[in-house]
Amino acid sequence: MKWKRQDMQQYLKSKEYIDTAIVPLLPFSMEGNDEDLLSLTYQHEVMDVFTERLEKEYKGRIFRFPTYSYLATSKIEDEVERLNGYYEQLKTQPFQFVFYLTFDAKWKKHEKNLEGQLLWLPILKDGDIHQEETKKVILDQNEQITDLIRAYWSET
């Protein structure tokens, strides 16, 4: 499901089946050098492709929420706190699994203070998403993520 009215309508009718929430985490900044800015937009694109595919193949069980974006310069401790506030919101619904998908290694260090499950993926700083090589890498990582999520599912 996506953050769309039509999907929400379906969600409201079948909540108990859609037990997995995915929230992408992406830093935002406009003040970096050109390289940084290119990298940020590239990451955003890759994240889009990623979550789009995930949602498409697992529409009936995964709810893909809008991206949580934060200033690249902000203190991660504060963000952890804010994100936990998100988690509280999600938990008012019958979500059993809450996954945060990110390329930003900063979260990794604070993982233990986070409610919910952090899925951190390493990614090239920059690239061309339309290139065959890049596509392969993305599809590959996509598969790994799906396997991981399915592993969580089968544990219950």
């Binding site: 379906q10 089946y17 498409k56 697992y58 009936g60 069980r61």
Partner: protein, 171 residues
């Protein structure tokens, strides 16, 4: 001076008029197609009839379901985009080809063929254990309530072309 004022339309009024005008225009724009459809069903756009290549030749299709991906141009009210579609394609007993839409009829996850050891030779939905037999018919007492949809298909120059996915009613 005062005579002038009478004819003068204040800026606020003017904007108000224009807004109402635009609003009315928009409402008309929304109503017009509805009215048209109500009057003349022939005018309704035909969604079907477009076939795209599944990039697989007829001879490569066996009795074992194979996953093929193909791209279709999709236009809805706001977006125009290329969407990747997936089909499970195989030859039936009688040699005819069938292309199943992998979209689970429960809540829309993609089903896989023969990929769960507990359910060999079945289409299996990883989301809530939905099951379908090889012909795409849902197994009773699993969440799906209808068989998998079937794509329209045709063979041209030995290549498989797929069209619209046609939903099937419960048998």
């Amino acid at each position: 001076m005062s005579k002038d004022k009478k004819n003068q339309v204040s800026r606020r009024q003017f904007l108000n008029y224009t807004l109402t005008g635009v609003g009315g225009f928009m409402a008309a724009g929304m109503l017009a197609p509805m009215v048209r459809f109500a009057i003349d069903p022939v005018l309704q756009p035909d969604e079907g009839g477009e076939f795209v290549s599944a990039k697989i030749s007829e001879e490569d299709i066996t009795t074992e379901p194979k996953r093929v991906a193909f791209n279709v141009e999709q236009v809805d009210a706001w977006y125009e985009s290329t969407v990747e579609k997936v089909a499970w394609v195989y030859k039936q007993e009688d040699g005819s080809i069938i292309a199943l839409d992998p979209t689970c009829t429960h809540l829309g996850c993609f089903v896989g063929w023969n990929d769960n050891e507990n359910y060999p030779e079945h289409f299996y939905c990883p989301c809530h254990d939905g099951l379908y037999t090889k012909d795409g018919v849902n197994v009773p007492n699993t969440p799906p309530t209808a068989p998998l949809a079937v794509y329209e298909h045709k063979i041209e120059n030995g290549i498989l072309y797929l069209g619209k996915a046609i939903p099937r009613e419960e048998a």
